[in-house]
């Protein structure tokens, strides 16, 4: 790969070719694979999709357990209700996601891409459907090359039909997290879906079909930003999918039972199965590539061949750059997992997780905003008292109605005019006008700090001590 040196003879001019900047997409037909990592991948498919398709059907307290009610601006997650004021938790959740991504990418490479990413998960499901209908890899390649026939039409219709059904169900489930899914179900069959619900179902469903059915690895290769920056999250101690070049080369076919050293070959029998199972269509033997999504299908495939040849497993395995260079065993690899970068990510992640859990556990069920009347700075009322007017905006976050006692403190001789017991409905807010009076010689001229105490009658612990200011002219 070196450039032409000046000592080259001048008459060997490099020849130029004109190449198109674009190429027709060659469809990738991944071969079916089974093994430890394939089992892990399918376990995650089941786990994530059971949650996604199932959780929206769970009831809680007479409503859907997980519901993001955008119209009412409340997010329900089981017993927790999040109001717009709680958006900080969403921000923290995103930070937690980011740091955990950095952490396990630094440790194990593209674990997200290969095992948990929805693109991988849905592509796996759609590919499984394709395999069940159209057959194994060779059968599918033949079918693609064959001219249209009754059989091909039938197979294609069955495949696209199943994909469309699953994609629509996915879109329906997605919308079911924003509109209660049971009402959505009845609306669906009575053709009374709202326009936006219909739009989002079709939109989400259409893109599931497009990305999982047709685009597949194109998303990973050309569209996903994570694919592009995962390279900077690796270091020489990151576990990545590695082909042991030293052990495998030179590659070549041989009969079973022949010792590789005797024919001056490495362990790689050049079966090409690692290339056939790859969902992105790369050859891992060329080294770690940016298209590799870390799904470990090639590891499972090669291990099976090694077992058949009576060679030790692990010709393609999870290993690190340092480990390959220095021929480390697992002990050294593991001891290098705990390094500065990993420690820092873990510490930050741990701290933020603790803060997150603590924040949610101590989320107040009562919020009080005191809005002082601005224009009526301070007015004189009978008896020579000075009066300030406030509006208390009381938000009852809990899901039961509450009655609260209101009182005020902070200045000598203060008194409050207005309702002392207020009632706020469940998950609602009410605004109350309150006048506070004090003698004109109480406190100092100008602003004085006072406090409003709002306590729930049912539960003493639900209380807010909110500060406000009282103006003396």
């Amino acid at each position: 790969m070196a450039s032409a040196t000046p000592t080259q003879a001048p008459e060997t001019k490099p020849s130029f070719v004109e190449e198109s900047l674009y190429e027709v997409h060659q469809k990738v037909h991944p071969r079916a694979v089974s093994g430890i990592f394939a089992t892990w991948r399918w376990a995650l498919v089941w786990f994530t999709q059971l949650i996604f398709y199932g959780m929206c059907w769970l009831p809680w307290n007479g409503r859907q357990a997980v519901l993001f009610d955008l119209v009412e601006r409340k997010f329900y997650i089981f017993g927790l209700v999040f109001w717009p004021q709680d958006v900080i938790f969403l921000a923290i959740l995103l930070i937690i996601s980011a740091y955990s991504l950095f952490l396990f990418t630094a440790v194990g490479g593209r674990l997200w891409c290969g095992y948990a990413c929805p693109q991988t998960v849905y592509t796996e499901i759609f590919t499984w459907i394709e395999q069940k209908i159209e057959g194994e890899r060779n059968a599918r390649i033949k079918l693609d090359a064959a001219p249209m026939s009754a059989r091909k039409l039938w197979l294609r219709s069955a495949k696209y039909g199943s994909w469309i059904l699953l994609a629509f169900w996915t879109g329906f489930t997605f919308v079911g997290y924003f509109t209660p899914i049971k009402t959505l179900w009845t609306s669906l069959w009575s053709f009374s879906l709202g326009p936006w619900e219909t739009f989002w179902m079709l939109f989400y469903g259409a893109f599931t079909y497009l990305f999982a059915g047709h685009m597949r690895e194109q998303v990973c290769k050309h569209m996903c930003p994570y694919a592009r920056f995962q390279g900077v999250m690796f270091d020489p101690d990151t576990l990545t999918i590695t082909y042991d070049t030293e052990r495998g080369e030179p590659r070549g076919a041989r009969k079973k039972g022949v010792e590789p050293q005797s024919i001056a070959k490495g362990d790689c029998v050049d079966c090409g199965i690692c290339v056939q199972v790859c969902p992105t269509g790369i050859d891992i033997r060329k080294g770690l590539q940016y298209e590799c999504i870390g799904c470990a299908a090639c590891i499972d495939a090669c291990d099976q061949v090694m077992v058949k040849m009576d060679y030790p497993k692990g010709l393609i395995r999870y290993s690190t750059e340092h480990a390959i260079e220095a021929h480390w065993g697992w002990k050294e690899i593991i001891s290098h997992v705990v390094r500065l970068r990993v420690i820092i990510y873990s510490a930050i992640l741990g701290a933020i997780c603790v803060a997150f859990v603590w924040g949610i556990a101590t989320k107040p069920t009562l919020r009080v905003d005191v809005i002082r009347d601005r224009a009526t700075l301070a007015r004189e009322v009978e008896g020579g008292l000075i009066e300030n007017v406030y509006r208390l905006h009381v938000i009852n976050v809990s899901e039961t109605p509450h009655r609260y006692a209101v009182s005020v403190s902070g200045l000598q001789g203060m008194d409050m005019v207005g309702d002392r017991i207020i009632e706020v409905p469940a998950a609602g807010a009410r605004s109350f006008a309150v006048q506070v009076r004090a003698p004109s010689d109480s406190g100092k001229k100008g602003s004085n700090q006072i406090f409003f105490d709002v306590k729930s009658l049912a539960d003493e612990k639900v209380a807010v001590h909110e500060k406000a200011s009282f103006l003396q002219p």
């Binding site: 790969m1 070196a2 450039s3 490099p14 020849s15 130029f16 070719v17 004109e18 190449e19 198109s20 900047l21 674009y22 190429e23 027709v24 997409h25 194109q218 050309h222 009347d373 601005r374 224009a375 009526t376 700075l377 007015r379 004189e380 009322v381 009978e382 009066e387 007017v389 509006r391 005019v417 006008a433 006048q435």
Partner: protein, 320 residues
């Protein structure tokens, strides 16, 4: 509707827009292949050994580009973008605003209409109307009159029964629709009052409301009051609807302190309630009238010039 005075700018914009869009298409078309050294790489070398593979993009990238160009031409035909051309859909931001206003009118109009046909007294006790009225009040009136409508220095308390311009529903509505201008001339009808005399009158006025004052001053002030003030405020200071406030009650628009009264007499007062008829429209004025009337203190019968009618239905002690 163009702000430009010359038609040149219209064509300037059109040519730039079209040149850009068509230029992009042309660029895509002529730049869809590249020459490079035979082999896997492009032939360029940076920093001694950094090279670049020649990896073509998938075809669908190119098709997406072309689709966006076609879409942009379609968009420019349908929406404004080519200079002053309005577009086939005839969209404009004022048009969108009008559409939204019409939608709101269609939605809220029937609710307003329902109350507009009812008498103010009936509307004042309707709970839905009260809530609407409160929201309107908080939006339009509370900045001066306070969020509890109890006023502030210089802004009347709307919950009491003291109405300078009358408290019947019709009078309240007129106040809202046309506004009010109130003016107290400095020193009343006797411009040659001096400081000491003003102090006397102030003392007398305070005594009318039962507030502490120097009785000698108050006695002198009584005579001066008859000369200077009773033309508008009445012989006993009880005021006249539409002319002058009642000075003999406990309600003070400005402070009840002696200094404040002296200032009122010395400098006079000018106060104005803006007209809301055109700004709010009939329906909202109707609701607000009912709300204010329902706050308490509103009068039920026709305005009587005699201030004796003012306390009708309400004791001098107010609701506070």
């Amino acid at each position: 509707m163009s702000d430009f005075v010359s038609g040149f700018w219209n064509y300037y914009v059109i040519s730039i827009v079209l040149a850009s869009v068509i230029g992009c298409a042309v660029l895509l078309w002529i730049q869809d292949s590249a020459k490079h050294v035979e082999g896997e790489t492009t032939g360029h070398v940076w920093d001694e050994d950094l090279q670049e593979f020649s990896n073509p993009l998938p075809n669908w990238w190119r098709w997406l580009y072309y689709i966006t160009i076609v879409f942009s031409l379609f968009y420019l035909a349908m929406y404004p973008g080519l200079g002053t051309y309005q577009g086939q859909f005839g969209w404009s931001s004022t048009g969108q605003y009008d559409g939204e206003m019409k939608k709101a009118d269609d939605q809220y109009g029937p609710i307003f209409k329902k109350f507009q046909s009812q008498d103010i007294r009936a509307v004042a006790v309707n709970s839905e109307a009260k809530e609407m009225g409160q929201r309107l009040f908080l939006t339009y009136c509370s900045q001066c009159h306070g969020s509890d409508a109890k006023g502030a220095s210089g802004f009347p308390n709307l919950t009491d029964n003291d109405w300078l311009f009358g408290g019947t529903p019709e009078q309240i509505k007129e106040t809202l629709q046309k506004g009010r201008d109130a003016m107290m001339p400095a020193k009343g009808v006797k411009p040659d009052l001096n400081g000491d005399q003003i102090k006397d009158i102030a003392g007398y006025v305070r005594s009318l409301s039962g507030l502490a004052t120097d009785s000698i001053r108050a006695q002198r002030g009584k005579d001066l009051f008859a000369e200077a003030c009773s033309a508008c405020h009445g012989p006993e200071g009880k005021g006249m609807v539409g002319v002058a406030p009642n000075l003999a009650d406990k309600i003070w628009l400005y402070s009840s302190s002696e200094n404040s009264i002296i200032e009122t007499i010395t400098k006079g007062r000018v106060n104005r309630m803006p007209a809301y008829g055109e700004f709010l429209g009939e329906a909202k004025v109707h609701l607000l009238t009912a709300y204010v009337y329902g706050l308490g203190g509103g009068q039920t019968d026709a305005p009587a010039a005699a201030p004796a009618a003012a306390p009708a239905g309400a004791a001098p002690a107010e609701k506070k």
